[in-house]
């Protein structure tokens, strides 16, 4: 490769392009001036989207990566530019999303001198990145970028930060742009499980009478959707799907249990404590799924397949650990399957529970969020649709009610639970998939954390459909305050929020305010049929609660099917659940 008179900034962008990264998001600033000058020079190859806030830019790159499987770059300046990315980096780290975050930095001589906008972002972000670099010489840029891309995208993916002092960006880079990667400590495990482990799993599956497959985000990230379906159908094993994996196994499939855990489906939460084999494929036994640590699937053999061996034994003690890529594991397992499980009674029991606990959405007394997702299911059927959610009650209703049939088409901040994620993630996804119908389902709380990105929607001419679940409160917090704080509502009313339809109109985005249940489908259809962006402000019932609910720290068996405060009149109220330490 050429080694001509290239600056550090030039080298950085050329190395990103050479690694296939051609989409960037960000906001410029003083210490990023040279980086942005190089972005300008390469503007025909490195597509750039100007965000309105760095948190938004980072979530956009996250949404882009989830939709494409490829990372995007985020370019921000030092100091506040860098610190504003922290929430986005954290959200990506918690959900194993590859990102390249490039931060401008004060000049080398000014490091540690409290210079203007000088912040030690390298140390600040250390616990929330997969790896990071503070590049001290332009000659180190090619190696750092190549390593960063490799680390971000291989094994268990994650965000990598590259901090570039302004004078490093300016000085000539004499190193070859294909400088070798030197990572003696980094060996991602694709097939680190012994071959006998696959045989053991096949044997255990054949013996199981009450099997459950738990499909996690690792199944999505490894592209194992087809293999997973073959496994479930061949073994006749029901599949519980974690929030992040939604769509990796079709929600409409008769073997799909939906999401387990705190706000999981009743039939998934009733099945898990009873299962005799739990085959976890790329799930990390999050506390929201376990309920009680140590009380999870106590009667089952637990097989844990994960590309990250540090997950083994972290939250649950598996009987068999298989360190490797889910897709690789399944392609090894499928030829060794010994036919369907003898589990007819088990599947019948699950179906009985499914029928018994099918959610019923009242259509009187205002709009309930499940009604909106039901309408979206009908309206989006047959379309290539991507749903991005924000965080809170609407996110759980989406997980319970929205039907997703394909992986990578339900984008949500799971582990991080970063409010403000929905709209910018939808922007990233729409840029990645211009032909998709991209819907951002957001609560009125989360929406206001990144609503400034409406300008980015307009600026980029993105046909995103925004549905605001507007109950004028931080509903999930209010629900917890009802459950755990004796109904004392502390700082949850969102009085003072604007009329979101008028707000959208100020950006030139067509918008509707939806007030009556009877109009839900009509107005959503109108919004979906509108070319370009549209916003529907849905006046949803205030005080609505998400159920089923497993109180935090309790075993799944303690699931409450409905809000104890909403029992039919005349029946005694159950005592409120006490918070456990």
């Amino acid at each position: 490769m050429k080694t001509g008179a290239t600056t550090g900034a030039e080298a950085l962008i050329r190395c990103l392009l050479a690694a296939g990264i051609d989409q960037a998001f960000g906001i410029p600033g003083g210490a990023a001036l040279t980086l942005y000058d190089a972005l300008y020079a390469h503007r025909d190859r490195m597509r750039f989207v100007l965000a309105r806030h760095e948190q938004g830019a980072t979530h956009m790159a996250d949404g882009y990566a989830r939709a494409t499987g490829r990372p995007a770059a985020v370019f921000v300046t030092s100091g506040p530019g860098a610190t504003n990315t922290v929430t986005g980096i954290m959200a990506a780290y918690m959900d194993s999303i590859p990102l390249l975050v490039v931060t401008g930095q004060a000049t080398r001589a000014m490091l540690g001198k409290d210079a203007f906008q000088e912040t030690d972002v390298f140390n600040l972000t250390m616990p929330i990145v997969k790896h990071s670099y503070l590049v001290k010489s332009a000659d180190d840029v090619p190696r750092a970028v190549r390593e960063a891309v490799y680390i971000a995208t291989s094994g268990r993916p994650g965000p990598v930060l590259i901090d570039v002092p302004q004078d490093v960006a300016q000085e000539p880079c004499r190193a070859p742009l294909d400088a070798p990667v030197e990572l003696p400590g980094y060996r991602p495990a694709v097939r680190a499980y012994p071959p006998e482990a696959v045989e053991t799993v096949a044997g255990w599956l054949a013996e199981a009478r009450r099997p459950v497959i738990l499909a996690g985000h690792g199944a999505v990230l490894s592209g194992a959707s087809a293999e997973l379906r073959r496994l479930a159908e061949a073994a006749r094993a029901p599949v519980a799907v974690t929030l992040l994996a939604k769509g990796v196994f079709p929600d409409s499939h008769p073997l799909c249990l939906g999401m387990p855990g705190m706000h999981g489906t009743a039939w998934a939460n009733l099945a898990l404590p009873e299962c005799d084999l739990l085959l976890s494929l790329g799930a990390r036994f999050d506390d929201r799924i376990l309920g009680e640590r140590g009380g999870f699937c106590t009667g089952a053999r637990i097989v844990h397949v994960d590309v990250d061996p540090a997950e083994f034994g972290k939250m649950a003690a598996p009987h068999l650990r298989c360190a490797g890529d889910v897709r690789a594991f399944l392609s090894d397992l499928l030829p060794r399957l010994r036919g369907p499980c003898d589990d007819a009674e088990w599947l019948a029991e699950i179906d009985r529970n499914r029928r018994k606990h099918a959610p019923k959405t009242p259509i009187h007394g205002g709009i309930r969020p499940a009604l909106v997702f039901g309408a979206l299911n009908r309206l989006l059927a047959g379309r290539d649709a991507t749903l991005a959610t924000d965080v809170g009650q609407h996110q759980m209703w989406a997980a319970q009610t929205y039907r997703c049939e394909r992986p990578d088409r339900f984008l949500t901040s799971g582990g991080g639970g970063a409010m403000g994620y929905g709209l910018p993630a939808a922007i990233g996804a729409q840029i990645a998939r211009p032909g998709d119908t991209v819907v951002a389902a957001v609560g009125d709380g989360g929406f206001q954390m990144t609503q400034c990105e409406l300008a980015t929607v307009v600026n980029q001419r993105l046909p995103i459909k925004i549905v605001v679940f507007d109950n004028r409160e931080l509903g999930m917090v209010r629900q917890w305050q009802d459950l755990l704080c004796g109904g004392r509502h502390s700082a949850v009313a969102l009085d003072g929020s604007p009329d979101f339809a008028k707000l959208a109109a100020a950006y030139g985005i067509p918008a509707w305010r939806l007030k009556r249940p009877a109009d839900v489908e009509k107005i959503l259809r109108r919004a979906l049929d509108t070319p370009g962006p549209a916003l529907v402000d849905v006046e949803t019932v205030r005080g609505e609660t998400v159920y089923p609910m497993v109180p935090p720290g309790h075993p799944l068996a303690d699931m409450q099917l409905r809000d104890p405060a909403r029992r039919p009149p005349g029946r005694p109220r159950k005592a409120r659940q006490e918070a456990k330490p």
Partner: protein
């Protein structure tokens, strides 16, 4: 509910040897990995490894037995870490060096020198009112000598922290 913190009885000191790429931030990442999970670093020795690209860290940490495997896994997962292993005292040779400055004048000097001789410590500095002893050995032996020296006025005590190497042909 299982208590998040197990009884203190399961807390003990562990020897860890970490082979790590000599890159900026490696030490900070490792220290964060331990502190986040409730492990308190008691001693830490960092020095160049076989080549300049790799460093050897010997860390003794105090923490719950139950969390040790997890913290080793998390440490091994760090991009810069080539290997992180725990070693029982029985399977390693361990050494530590200490420099002890004692405020002592002529009348009691002989008594100090007698203790030093017993523990095979060296006298590396001697002045009218103070002397410095250098001792190398297992940390227990150093503890024992310091115990004997307590009756004198120990002015300063500097210990390097423990280094270990696996016995036989095992890897450290």
């Amino acid at each position: 509910m299982i208590p998040e913190t197990a009884p203190a009885a399961s807390v003990r000191t562990h020897n860890l040897s970490i082979y790590v790429a000599n890159r900026p931030g490696a030490l900070a990442r490792i220290a964060q990995t331990f502190s986040r999970r409730g492990f308190n670093i008691e001693s830490l020795v960092v020095s160049p490894g076989k080549t300049a690209e790799l460093s050897r860290m010997t860390i003794t940490v105090k923490g719950e037995e139950a969390g040790l495997e997890q913290v080793i896994q998390q440490c091994s997962k760090l991009v810069d870490v080539v290997a992180c292993r725990e070693h029982d005292d029985a399977e390693v040779v361990s050494r530590e060096l200490a420099l002890v400055k004692i405020r002592v004048e002529a009348p009691r000097r002989a008594e100090v020198l007698q203790i030093a001789e017993y523990f095979r410590a060296k006298t590396v500095d001697m002045a009218e009112q103070a002397m410095v002893l250098e001792i190398t050995g297992m940390p227990d032996k150093i503890d024992a000598m310091i115990g004997m020296l307590r009756k004198f006025d120990i002015e300063e005590l500097i210990r390097t922290g423990k280094v270990i190497v696996a016995r036989g042909d095992r890897e450290t």
